[in-house]
C-alpha cells in the first residue's frame, strides 16, 4: 500500500512542477492531468486497502475523470481564444489580462 501511495505522491509532485514552470498554456493543462491521475490513484488505493464501504473510492475516481474531461474541454477552448487574440499561448502574454 505504501508503495502505491509514494508513487502517487511522486506523480503529484511532478505535475506540480509542470504547473509551476511551464510557459506554454497547453503544457500547464497537461501537468494538471498528471495531478488528477495521482489523486485518482490515491482514491483507488484507499478503496482497496482501507475501505470503509465497498467501491466508494472508485466511484469518486470515476466522477473525477468526468470532471477532468470537462475541465480539459473548457480549458482548451480558452486556449484557442487566447491564440486567436494574441497569436501565442505563452503565459507571459496572458498576464496582460491580470489588470
Amino acid at each position: 500500500m505504501l508503495a502505491y501511495l509514494v508513487l502517487a505522491l511522486v506523480l503529484f509532485s511532478i505535475g506540480l512542477f509542470g504547473v509551476l514552470t511551464r510557459r506554454n498554456t497547453i503544457g500547464i493543462l497537461m501537468s494538471l492531468e498528471l495531478m488528477f491521475n495521482a489523486v485518482n490513484i490515491n482514491f483507488v488505493v484507499f478503496n482497496k486497502f482501507v475501505a470503509t464501504s465497498a467501491l466508494v473510492g472508485q466511484m469518486f475516481a470515476i466522477f473525477i475523470v468526468v470532471v477532468a474531461a470537462a475541465e480539459a474541454v473548457a480549458g482548451l477552448a480558452i486556449v484557442l481564444l487566447l491564440y486567436r487574440n494574441w497569436q501565442g499561448i505563452d503565459t507571459d502574454n496572458d498576464s496582460v489580462m491580470k489588470w
Binding site: A3, N37, K48, Q58, A74, L81
Partner: protein, 172 residues
Amino acid sequence: MAVGDVGIVFWILSVAIIVSACMVVSLRNIFHCALALILCLFAVAGIFILLGAEFLAAAQVLIYVGAVAILMIFAIMLTSNLAAKKITQTNENALVGLLVCVFFTLVGWVLLKKTYEGIWSHLELARPLPSDNILTLGKYLMTQYALPFEVVSILLLAAMIGAIVLARKENA
C-alpha cells in the same frame, strides 16, 4: 504489505509512469510532451487494473487516452507551428519550482511513512474486492449516486456548450 512485495508489474508500471511524467514536464517540443502524456495515462490504467478497478481502467483509456489526449493534440496543432519549437519551454521559476517540489515530496514521504506505520497498517484489510465490481458500480450509479450522476451530466453539457460558444468565430 511493505514496499518490497508488490510485484514486478508494479515496478515496471511505476518506472513507466515516472519517466513519462518527467518527459511531460521537461521536453522542449510540446507535441512530444503530449505523446509522453498518453504513455503515462496508459501506465496509470495498468495500475488501476493491478488494484482491481477494471472499469476505471477502461474508462481511463476511453476518456483520457481517447478523448482528452487527442483533444490536447488537436489544440497543439491548431495553436503552434511545431517545426520551429526549439525555444525554452520553462519560465524563470524552474529552479525555485524544482526546490518546492523536492521539498513537497520529502515532507509528504515522511508523513506517509509515519501515518502508515501508526494508523493505516492496522486498518489494512486482507479481503479481496468482490468480483462483480462493475455490477456493483452500475447499481450505485442508479441508486445511491443518482444525483451526482445527473449533476455530472449537466456539467458535461455545460462544458460542451461553453466550449462551442468560446471557440466560435464572432462574425459567424
